[in-house]
Amino acid sequence: MPVTHDMPISLLQETVIELAVALVGIVAVTACALLYFRRVRLDRPPVGTFNGRDIGILLAFIIALPFLYAALPSWALTSFLALTFISALSIGYRPLLDRKWLWLGTGLLIGANIWTSRTMLGTVAGWQLWWAELSVLVALAAIAVANLYVQGGMKLRYVAWLALALGAYDVIFSSVFPLTNKLVQEFLGAPLDPSLGMRFGIDNFAIGIGDLLIFSLFAVAAYKAYGPRAARQAFGLIVVFGAFVPSLVPLLVNFVDARTDVLVPAQAFFGPAAFLCYRWMKHRYGRERTMAEYLASADGVARAAGAAEPAPAPEPASV
């Protein structure tokens, strides 16, 4: 049963719970994304691979997204989010599930969350059910999208640059123009709020889908680029700068200026750390492996041996 509180909890308790939620979410999603990468091959389009300009397009989309959130009426926003989740899940889990079960599962997850957010948020148990549904949906989407991008050719270099840019974005939109804080508060409880989290007592603890996506991308891209050792190093970096540092910062801020309502921009810490880590890996390990080189390597062969879905056979060469 979930713990309930009638009174606000102390900052230390809050920090510990936030850390626990972040750790569980980050570790579970990142590990599952890696596992997925090792075992499942997604279909890819005949032509196309991720390049630097795609990162620019992605960033522009991410920057525009909060304004879209603020501008759209709630029904349109819910529709937009539903479409996004449906796309992510249908592409990501098509190799694993029969079409019937895939659509049924996706529909149930999305439908249940919309229903719960409209009818059951009057109680802590209702909130916890809402968070549980949302967490599963968000985790599955983050795992799928991270794999779609990395299996689509996104290199660690691009992930590092994206993380760095998002770090700057996070700082700007949480400190200079506090749009992120406003959105987090406004959309709490809204259907398909793109966050993973849980409620304990009167407090909600969450981590955004964007953060989970970047962590998963970084771990998977490091594994693809340089193998298991690099993946372990990336994993350690994610745990430290993605979970511990952002969770512990409120304690430090409170110690300094006694504020307790701090929204911590996780990418502000993780982005620069990820970028430096990538530079170090590049210096230490050299050129990144391509997807073809990864598949031909022992890591790729190990994956193939336990593959849940075999890689699509290439078209016979025409003569």
């Binding site: 005949p46 032509v47 300009r53 391509t290 060469a317």
Partner: protein, 477 residues
């Protein structure tokens, strides 16, 4: 990834709308293919459909053909003086044209092109490069290309070559076709540039010169015509060269008949698994055909319509019969000097009605080209001998007389076959006649001196290009 999607969408919209395609967009799409191959080693699973189109459904295919014909005819009726007159004379309504109505429009023959080239030039576009047919079968025809065509065709060629793994970034293509075949030369160089491959344009130089460049891993691809391939194989065997001396992974030929014997010899000597024998022709560029492993010739559906017409009636050839290949390149793939229902006079056999089972079964096919219509030998009303039959038989002689030099005439229901002495040297008349009989050819042999060999049958390899290095006697003179 996102950009590539947008480029593919732009290309698809262009193809559906029938407006001129953006060659720059296609060029960037080729860059995307190169990047895709660098990352994944191969294109994604649906690459074939991207190239060949979703034409498995006959109704959908017919609808596409009718739309493309109308689009092409509408433009020609306004911009091409020759076809404006021809459509008017045939009382054809371009906007209502379809496969059934197409038969009312007479075929265009090479004589039309040679005698009135200016009338074929569209008035809404400027020509920037003129190219001529090689003229091995008569007076050469001159074809003008627009800048758009010169940019579009290489992009389309590079796209299909890369996606079909016929060309890879890092390949080096050696081109041994006549240097006067400016379109072929331009296309080869431009396709390689777009595909990040190297290109060596050599022309029909002395075979030893070409072998010097091919050997030692100097090229991974060879593009030539069958007769020059014959000279290369002969020279390589004379020099004792074998597969270990080459790094070739593909040999492609077109423009002439490639015999089975020569193809096998080329594979053994040059170390490739097969010789790709495709169909292309200056007058109907960019429409091409590919030969499958079942020796069918599959005709490109996207860029043009290929008909096979009965030689006597001009109606579609019946299954099993011979017909002449008639091609209509569609707008917007042909721009400056288009032809409509161009009779290539290349003969092919209509395949039996059964469904195809080859790897290109989704694309309509005929037999391989069997020769020129004017070179058919009619032994009786029911028996016709094609050039391919003769070339196959001659090039299968144990003397390996490649390329086949011969002259053939029908004489009292038999074939009078003139060969140079070298073709049967050490083999004998009797054995040679038995050899031809086993190939189903009842021949009377006439043997002439080897000095007359090249006058018996012209081949593209006769378009020799001299080099100062090959004229050693003059050096220091």
């Amino acid at each position: 990834m996102f950009e590539t999607g947008i480029r593919q969408l732009r290309m698809a919209i262009g193809m559906v709308s029938g407006r001129r395609l953006n060659a720059g967009n296609l060029g960037r799409l080729v860059g995307d293919v190169v990047a895709t191959l660098a990352e994944f080693g191969e294109p994604g699973a649906d690459a074939q459909q991207l190239l060949d189109g979703p034409f498995a459904d006959p109704e959908e295919r017919l609808e596409f053909i009718n739309r493309s014909l109308r689009r092409t005819a509408r433009r020609l009726a306004v911009q091409s003086p020759f076809y404006a007159r021809r459509f008017a004379a045939a009382h054809a309504e371009p906007a209502k044209l379809d496969m059934a109505g197409l038969r009312a429009i007479p075929v265009t023959v090479k004589r039309d092109l040679v005698e009135r080239p200016g009338n074929f030039r569209c008035t809404d576009v400027a020509g920037v490069l003129a190219t001529r047919t090689t003229g091995t079968t008569g007076h050469p025809a001159e074809i003008w290309l627009s800048r758009y065509e010169m940019e579009l065709w290489p992009a389309l060629g590079a796209l299909s070559s890369l996606l079909r793994d016929e060309l890879r970034p890092g390949d080096v293509m050696q081109v041994n076709i006549s240097s006067r075949a400016t379109v072929g030369m331009h296309l080869s160089a431009a396709v390689c540039r777009l595909a990040s491959a190297g290109c060596r344009l050599l022309g029909i130089v002395p075979p030893d010169e070409a072998l010097d460049h091919l050997g030692g891993g100097g090229a991974t691809l060879l593009s030539t015509c069958p007769s020059y391939l014959a000279e290369l194989v002969t020279a390589a065997r004379r020099r004792g060269m074998g597969p270990a001396d080459f790094r070739l992974r593909r040999v492609a030929t077109s423009g002439e008949i490639l015999s089975t014997s020569l193809a096998q010899a080329a594979c053994q000597t040059l170390g490739v698994s097969r010789v790709d024998d495709s169909f292309s022709m200056t007058e109907v560029i960019p429409v091409t055909g590919r030969t499958c492993s079942h020796a069918h010739l599959h005709h490109d559906l996207n860029s043009g319509l290929t008909e096979l017409l009965d030689l006597q009636t001009g109606e579609p050839a019946a299954p099993g019969t011979l017909g002449t290949v008639v091609i209509t390149p569609y707008f917007p793939y042909r721009d400056c000097m288009p032809v409509f229902r161009y009779d290539t006079r290349d003969i092919a056999r209509c395949l039996p009605g059964e469904a195809l089972t080859c790897e290109l079964a989704g694309i309509p096919a005929t037999s391989q080209v069997l020769g020129k219509a004017d070179h058919l030998l009619s032994l009786s009303p029911a028996e016709v001998v094609t050039s391919r039959q003769l070339i196959e038989a001659i090039e299968a002689l144990p003397t390996a007389p490649w390329p086949a030099r011969y002259r053939a005439a029908a004489y009292g229901g038999r074939i009078q076959l003139t060969l140079p002495a070298a073709a049967i040297a050490g083999y004998g008349d009797v054995a040679a006649q038995r050899h031809f009989a086993e190939a189903g050819l009842d021949v009377d042999l006439v043997i002439v001196g080897d000095d007359q060999a090249s006058s018996l049958r012209h081949t593209r390899s006769d378009l020799h290009e001299t080099m100062f290095a090959a004229e050693q006697a003059l050096i220091g003179a």
